[in-house]
């Protein structure tokens, strides 16, 4: 990664040449690149992700796996869960009633939201609900400077701040799940066993969910797994708009200040999460589809 980190430190005229050399030596920046890499891995195994440049001296792990991670997980987790559920239900119903006004309306609404830039939607919601209607705060995870009386007060304030970004993200995400579910359902509905279920005279809702959706949900699981990185990586843009102290805004901060240890740490955590998510998805898939089991 380009951009000599020492250049930033050097920019500070108060650091003498001596100190600079010492810092370089401490950080091991004077050793050859491959050696630096090995040292990194060694520290990694010890669980030490290095020390941040920007938050001078703070261990990277503490920065990433601390409050910021929780914030992002809460935001992205809730938004993803909500959008998956909404996308699933609306997708199933839309496919069942293909071609009707309901279906077309659902399609158009989801496409419109899917095409909306998340940051813009966030800005608009901030404008309308925050600036004009004074319903929601204009940013941050909790109100600054407010002393919280007890835990519930804290949670309430937190939730108050959470609503806008969560709704923004849900609206932008649900379209993808809706379309995927709808397509999958349409394919499933052409299968023979749906005819059998109808012939048995079973009620519509049962066929729709227990027979069709149960089979059509499989690609949706794959899709959620693929988007797993998003849950951890956070939506950089949305977090920035709402000043939500999460991994997304951290990433942006790190990029802007060329804080490479933090960036490396974030990508590492993301990679691990992706592997884990895929693993879980495989297990889930085997549970849902008996044909895959061994």
């Amino acid at each position: 990664m380009p951009g000599d980190p020492t250049a930033i430190l050097i920019g500070n005229p108060n650091i003498t040449q001596k100190t600079r050399e010492r810092i370089i030596h401490e950080f091991g920046l004077d050793k050859p690149l491959w050696m630096q890499y090995i040292l990194y891995i060694r520290e990694l195994i010890k669980g030490d992700l290095g020390v941040s440049f920007y938050f001078t001296g703070e261990p990277v792990i503490k920065i990433i796996l601390g409050k910021r991670m929780i914030n992002t997980l809460v935001l992205m987790g809730s938004a993803t869960a909500l959008s998956v559920v909404i996308g699933f239900i609306t997708g199933v119903i839309s496919a069942w009633r293909r071609g009707t006004k309901l279906d077309l309306t659902g399609l158009i609404i989801s496409i419109v939201f899917f095409s909306t830039p998340s940051f813009w939607l966030g800005l608009v919601i901030l404008l309308v609900a925050g600036y004009y209607l004074h319903l929601i705060p204009l940013g941050g995870t909790v109100t600054r400077g407010l002393v919280h009386v007890n835990v519930f007060h804290y949670i309430a304030d937190y939730l108050h701040h959470l609503i806008a970004p969560m709704i923004t993200l849900t609206l932008v995400l649900y379209g993808g799940y809706y379309l995927m579910m709808r397509n999958s359902m349409l394919e499933t509905l052409t299968q023979e066993y749906i005819v059998t279920a109808k012939a048995k005279g079973l009620p519509e809702r049962r066929i729709m969910f227990k027979h069709a959706a149960r089979n059509a949900i499989l690609p949706l699981v794959s899709m959620v797994a693929i988007n797993a990185a998003l849950i951890v990586g956070g939506a950089i843009v949305t977090e920035t708009v709402f000043s939500w102290h999460g991994i997304g805004s951290l990433m942006f901060l790190a990029v802007a200040s060329k804080d490479y240890p933090v960036l490396q740490g974030i990508f590492l955590i993301i990679s691990i999460t992706v592997l884990l998510a895929n693993f879980i998805a495989d297990i889930l898939y085997a549970y849902l589809d008996p044909r895959v089991r061994y």
Partner: protein
Amino acid sequence: MKKKAERLVTFKGKTGFAVRVKRTWSEFRRNKIGVLGLFISLFFVVIAVFAPIIAPYSPSDIYVGAPLSPPSKEFPFGTDELGRCILSLIIYGSRISMSVGVIAALINISIGTIVGLICGYYRNILSDALMRVTDAFIMMPSLALMVVLAAILGPNIYTIILAIGITTWPTTARTVMSQVLSLKERQYVEAVRAAGGSDFYIIFHCILLNVLPIVFTNMILSIATAVLYEAGLSFLGLGDPTRISWGIILYYANTSGAIISGAWWYVIPPGICIILLVVAFTFVSHGLDEVLNPRLRRR
């Protein structure tokens, strides 16, 4: 023997091409959503091409009006913090927004299709390696990668195009690959191979021409997502500040405190344009999808 197989395949492939395009178009014409999308996209293309003629002011005309003033008869979309006419900015902005979208999508599709073809058709070290790379990148959060890339490479319009193109090709590659895999097993491919057709012949005549519909549909959709990504990157400040795009307009809107001062005319119009353009392209690709991949057997 080879001649007979050739005729079989060419009929499906080359000579049929012009006919197929015509037939696709006449079917597409009937799809209301697709046609609507097409109209809107063409509208924006016209605006972009004829921007200097249509726009009342040029982006360099600063302080032609009071800064951050709401919409009025003279300035239908109000003015920005430098006193520029926002309507003109938006009209000019369409050029960058759309061209970045199209070019990035082209990069995406070219790399993606080639990789997809190789991975789907061949079973060698190269294809395996490419597949691993593709899979690895599919999982990564594209926006994060783009941000890092764009930040490293500098605020330049070409960096943005490159960043988007490079981070989005894996998804295309995966789609193309699965299509190629299923096409490869078709019987007429076996027939051509038995008749002695070379690999290149098969790829070109049997497979490539049959993945083109999917690639084309994907291309349109890629343009849509590329426009969205460009807006996002520009909004974060990674765009080229010397140019105007809808995303950059929103960046300035944000940094100049439009939210805090309630300058809604600065924020809403560019966003609506982005939405309209992306929706238009999505509609077109949806219409194409319905025509090229009919969902058989409505029950």
